[in-house]
Symmetry: C2
Subunit: 140 residues, 2 copies
DNA sequence: CGGAATCCGAAAAGATACTG
DNA sequence: CAGTATCTTTTCGGATTCCG
């Protein structure tokens, strides 16, 4: 048995479900597009090397525990490089790797899509909710 | 109070946390890159209009409940169009919308990245695990 | 057939306290 | 400073049942 908590090891990925057969990009989701991995990668890609606290403050709402977990996973997947400086007080710096930098165009495309189409999504939501509201009032 | 289950309404999105400030593409994650939304969108984009059971079989492992939930969300966000045919037995068809189709280039880019870099990720994982293994054996 | 309602277990995330 | 350990809370997906 290892000393680390078995359930929270960096390698404990969710589940190799069956959607992977039907959708070729499903594996990428677990690697890049989890709740916090994308903001982390985006921040490191945008602002360059940062130490733990800086990263923590930049992202803002994430807890230190979750930040550590996600950073470990990203380090294991080779998207982030962790550098430990054995000083007092200790200093740890994170930077995006070459492999991680290869995601930059995807982030850029996503950002463009966001500015172009996000308003349409919000519009669609309002329409949908309004229609549902009207339908509900017709049969109480 | 509405008649639908409050907790499971299509509009019940997770949480407008604070990561949205730091990362401009965070909002897109909840819309497009949830566990099942991507396979659903990809399938509809690839194979065209399908009815509920077809979609269910194509994706394979998803349960009907979750498929319904995600389809509702996608419909609300305007990425998917639902067509109800009042017949016996009832027939419902889903197809990707114009807005949903605008995601196609992103999916293509992601697919390319996957084939190019996924092996490197797996390689990095093996290296990381091997290094961790060696480090662990040095201090038992 | 295409759902909706309900109950349930696993997993992620959050909060807090503590350490080298 | 940079985590780890532990506990609690929230969320998600799965299984089952029932209905028009």
């Amino acid at each position: 048995m290892k000393s680390t908590t078995e359930k929270e090891r960096a390698g404990a990925h969710p589940a190799p479900g069956g959607a992977e057969q039907a959708c070729p990009i499903a594996p990428v989701l677990d690697i890049v597009f989890s709740r916090w991995t994308t903001p982390i990668l985006w921040t490191l890609n945008e602002f360059g090397r940062q130490r733990f606290v800086e990263l923590h403050r930049t992202i803002g709402t994430i807890t230190a525990k979750v930040l550590t977990q996600r950073l470990r996973q990203l380090e294991r997947d080779g998207l982030v490089v962790r550098t430990y400086h054995p000083e007092v007080p200790p200093r740890v710096e994170y930077e995006i790797s070459e492999l991680g930098r290869s995601l930059a165009p995807i982030f850029a495309t996503l950002s463009d899509w966001s500015t172009d189409h996000l308003p349409l999504v919000e519009r669609a939501r309002r329409d949908f909710d309004a229609a549902a509201e009207r339908a509900a009032s017709h049969r109480p």
